[in-house]
């Protein structure tokens, strides 16, 4: 290499590399500068969540069905293991620390600079800490909120519960107030109830320790916003009264206001304790609930669809009268059985009821009379009347999963019965056995339509803006009167099947007993083969205000099982709403 070019070449090489470095710096600092500034901020500024309380779930009288209780938790911050143990030992002289917070958990705290020492301090403990340890900057008290359901099991399917998987906050670990609604109203109204958690931003170093004494001004920090309250139409005391009435069997009850459609009570027994889900649920508790044979998570008000038994005779009677298969004065003789084809279909009363018109047949629940009405109607007309009363349709505007039940109409017969529907099937369906199924909310609609002279005001569980319009079913007044007189007789006549609910002669209704298994079976009437009991009623007879329907799972007889419950509901209603019955609407 010529000597004169050695230095030139070196200078050229050096200059080229400098240009490379400068352009790279230009790229990193000027083109990508803002982006890296953001990344750098994320490095040392971390968000900490400030818990906010969920809104209340209230009953119609403002009583709290669900609320958020503030709990004060004790944290230790910016402490290495040595310091942490020192503080822990010091504190353990004054208060009992949670036994679950053993050192074994320490590894999981890597990256989180605060460690939880004790949850839910009592007032005395808070004063003690404030007093003795106020000068120790490593101790921090944080308010969190825990969901409480004071009525526990009795409204569990209504309220639902919160999710058990917590979102971890960087600073404080698991916070209860981060939990979301898992089902029921908690889930349906989650956005309304949850409100907004607040955010504060802290300077942290690379080990996640807070750098104390430097306030972060960050546009993203925000104050908490409390959740909004939800007011329901439920009367929680009534709900609890009903729930406590279920002692020997499970089931479901609905009580609704006939004029407004408001649901006063919606019970499903057994329930579960939703409070268990407000904190980490133990696997023992969870397994117990999960494997419970009585299925406590099943909302029996909507998800148990069963044959209605004799309460369906209300529709059979309406259909028979409206289609003029029978008139109010038409009489049939009941010898205790009737022959359909070459098979005898028995009446529930072995000796028979003798001469029956439609009113008497409703009162005595005479099967033979309704066999004949059913045969006169045929499945086509009958199924269309079942649908007019809302069977086979869900009340989808209510925030619950529902089963719509089965109406044996043309489609069903074609699909499941090879298109064949025999007279034997017809007579069974006409008295509420066989293929026909419904749930307690649907059954309550039947009695509501009768009580309201054909009008049904859609159910209402909370104030909503777009309330559905009421539907009107045309039934001739003279037919309605016969049916209503019959229903009054069911409870109040000497031979009525609903005498268990008899009280002030103003209750009208219909009992039903749905067979789970054939009467001829050896197991009939025992344990899980016991009949389901139904009782649907309205009150008071002359100016109907409320509809009540009870489904008693394996309750044996609708009258015996449901009667006392209905009686209790009516007496509660009279006591609490009786004096100002008119003001209710």
């Amino acid at each position: 290499m010529a000597k004169s070019t050695r230095s030139n070449l070196s200078i050229l090489i050096v200059t080229i590399f400098f240009l490379v470095i400068i352009s790279r710096l230009f790229y990193l600092q000027i083109i990508k500068g803002e982006q890296y500034q953001e990344i750098s901020r994320k490095n040392f500024i971390r968000e900490a969540i400030i818990p906010s309380p969920r809104g209340l779930i209230l009953d119609r009288n403002g009583k709290q069905i669900a609320y958020s209780r503030p709990v004060v938790n004790l944290y230790v911050k910016n402490a290495n293991d040595l310091k942490f143990n020192e503080i822990k030992n010091n504190l353990s002289n004054y208060l009992e620390l949670d036994p679950s917070l053993k050192l074994k958990n320490e590894k999981s705290y890597v990256g989180i600079q605060r460690r939880l020492l004790k949850k839910d301090l009592s007032i005395d403990e808070i004063y003690l800490i404030e007093d003795l340890f106020k000068d120790i900057s490593n101790i921090e008290l944080i308010v969190d909120y825990i969901r409480v359901y004071p009525y526990g099991e009795s409204a569990s399917h209504l309220t639902g519960h919160l999710t058990s998987n917590d979102k971890k906050d960087f600073m404080y670990g698991n916070l209860f107030s981060n939990r979301k609604g898992a089902n029921g109203l908690e889930k349906f109204f989650d956005k309304t109830l949850a409100g907004n958690v607040g955010s504060k931003f802290l300077y942290v170093d690379s080990k996640g320790r807070e750098i104390i004494g430097q306030e972060v001004e960050d546009s993203r920090s925000k104050d908490i916003k409390k959740g909004n309250n939800i007011k329901t139409t439920i009367d929680i005391e009534l709900q609890k009264t009903i729930y406590d009435q279920f002692v020997n069997f499970n089931g479901a009850v609905i009580v609704s206001d006939l004029k407004s459609g408001e649901i006063l009570a919606l019970v499903s027994k057994p329930g579960f304790d939703p409070n268990l889900f407000s904190q980490p649920i133990s696997s023992k508790e969870w397994n117990k609930l999960k494997t419970d044979k009585s299925k406590p998570f099943l909302n029996r008000a909507f998800l148990v669809s069963s044959p209605p038994g004799s309460i369906i005779k209300i529709i059979t009677a309406v259909a028979g009268l409206e289609e003029e298969v029978v008139s109010p004065s038409t009489e049939y003789y009941c010898p205790g059985y009737t022959k359909v084809g070459n098979r005898n279909f028995r009446c529930w009363l072995r000796g028979g009821h003798g001469m029956q018109d439609v009113k008497k047949a409703l009162i005595t629940s005479c099967d033979v009379y309704f066999y004949k009405v059913g045969l006169g109607l045929g499945i086509k007309k009958y199924s269309s009347w079942l649908k007019k009363f809302g069977i086979g349709n869900s009340h989808n505007y209510l925030p619950f999963k529902q089963k719509s039940g089965v109406v044996p109409d043309r489609n069903f017969i074609d699909k499941y019965l090879n298109g064949k529907f025999y007279s034997g099937d017809m007579v069974n369906v006409a008295i509420g056995q066989g293929y026909l199924t419904l749930n307690v909310v649907q059954a309550n609609k039947i009695i509501s339509i009768i009580a309201n002279d054909g009008e049904f005001v859609p159910y209402k569980l909370f104030d909503s803006i777009d309330q559905s319009k009421s539907e009107k079913l045309k039934i001739k007044p003279k037919n309605l009167k016969v049916i209503k007189d019959g229903l009054l007789g069911v409870v109040n006549d000497s031979n009525g099947t609903g005498f268990h609910a008899r009280d002030d002669l103003l209750l009208a209704g219909k009992t039903g007993t749905a067979q789970v298994i054939s009467k001829d079976s050896a197991n009939y009437g025992y344990g899980e083969y016991k009949n389901h009991g139904w009782f649907t009623a309205y009150y008071p007879f002359d100016d109907p205000k409320i509809a009540i329907t009870v489904f008693a799972e394996h309750g044996d007889s609708g009258g015996r099982a449901g009667g006392p419950i209905i009686k209790k509901i009516v007496s509660y209603y009279k006591e609490n709403y009786g004096e100002n019955l008119d003001e209710l609407n």
Binding site: F17, I21, Y36, Q37, S40, N43, K207
Partner: protein, 368 residues
């Protein structure tokens, strides 16, 4: 006497720029921790700063001829120290430090300078009667290989790598042979392709890929490189200001005093501050080279060239490493990172350059 008249002489320009870089390094270190201004690194560095001024003053009193006489003993003294250091106490997996009266000394720093002096002496002695490239190559490589192996034993791969770059630059510049260079490059390619394809296991290849692309492994190997880029990038145009380097103060950037001191500077002073520091280095490297063609003496030529190379490679590798264009190898930023031996050796280096230029009489005619 004002600054302009003071700086009219070329060698004073070199002193000025060298000491300015060291002073800025003290300034940078002073704001590196999340504590009060005075931290132990800044104070120690300032002490080394004063010591380096003293050293430079002493060097400026030496005659050039005595440097030539000292070259050989200095080289063997360095080699001796490199042997002694192997019996020292192991610190984080390497025996690189000799401790004496509370001071730590790193022989691998000294050997880089003394190697340059040794080759300069060798080539100036050989130059008069031998033009054989083979002898120059052989002796150049021999004097390189001895310290290289000793440093590898410590082990200190960073210093070994710097010595390799430095010696190759010096050897090839002063005994250039196109054929020889071509054969060497060909040999490297021919060996490395089959090694990559057949001998390396997949995880080894992955390791090399991670080496090149740190984003593959952001928590492990790539962490340093990524945090350094965040530091530099977030400095943006004018920087976060002194004392506001969050990356360094809050501990996200590792090795902030040494390997990543430049990243901290770039974070505190931004693109403008980086440009200022860069131009100081550019001057320190290129300015002595401008005199190269007018210096006739081979000894002085090699020293000027070698010292510029010494600054250039240290600067290059460290800056490329901090901006994510080179794997993270433990090379500090020369004159700027915390570290006494390195600082002292570097100030010896630029002082010698300045001495040579000040002795060179006709600098006025160069128009510089």
């Amino acid at each position: 006497m004002n600054l302009t008249s003071l700086l009219q002489k070329p060698h004073r320009k070199i002193y000025f720029v060298g000491f300015l870089i060291i002073f800025l390094s003290c300034l940078n270190l002073a704001f590196i921790d999340n504590e009060e201004l005075i931290n132990v690194y800044a104070v120690k560095q300032f002490f080394w700063f004063l010591l380096s001024i003293l050293t430079s003053f002493l060097i400026s009193r030496i005659r050039l001829q005595s440097i030539k006489t000292l070259a050989v003993p200095l080289y063997f003294f360095s080699i001796l120290l490199l042997i002694i250091v192997l019996f020292s106490e192991e610190i984080s997996g390497a025996r690189s430090w000799i401790k004496l009266y509370g001071f730590s000394f790193q022989p691998s720093e000294l050997v880089k300078i003394s190697y340059v002096f040794m080759i300069a002496k060798l080539y100036s002695d050989l130059g008069s009667y031998s033009r054989s490239f083979a002898i120059k190559y052989f002796l150049g490589l021999l004097f390189f290989v001895i310290p290289f192996i000793l440093i590898m034993i410590q082990p200190d791969f960073g210093s070994a790598f710097m010595l390799l770059l430095l010696s190759m630059a010096v050897i090839f510049s002063f005994s250039f042979n196109r054929k020889f260079l071509f054969i060497l490059l060909l040999l490297i390619i021919v060996i490395s392709i089959p090694v990559w394809q057949s001998y390396l296991k997949p995880y080894q290849k992955q390791r090399i890929v991670n080496f090149i692309n740190p984003e593959n492994d952001p928590r492990g190997y790539g962490y340093n490189a990524i945090q350094s880029k965040i530091s530099i990038g977030s400095g943006s145009i004018i920087g976060k200001g002194f004392g506001n380097s969050s990356q360094s103060k809050f501990g996200f950037l590792p090795e902030k005093h040494t390997d990543f001191a430049f990243s901290v500077w770039a974070e505190q002073t931004g693109f403008l501050g980086s440009l200022i520091l860069l131009s100081l280095y550019l001057f320190l490297i290129i300015y002595p080279l401008l005199f190269l063609s007018n210096i006739k003496d081979v000894f002085l030529k090699v020293i000027i060239f070698g010292i510029s190379s010494y600054f250039f490679f240290h600067f290059l590798v460290n800056s490329l490493m901090t901006i994510g264009l080179f794997p993270v190898v433990g090379i500090p930023m020369i004159l700027f990172s915390y570290g006494g031996t390195s600082l002292l050796c570097a100030s010896i280096a630029f002082s010698v350059s300045a001495l040579i230029i000040s002795e060179f009489r006709d600098y006025n005619r160069l128009g510089v």
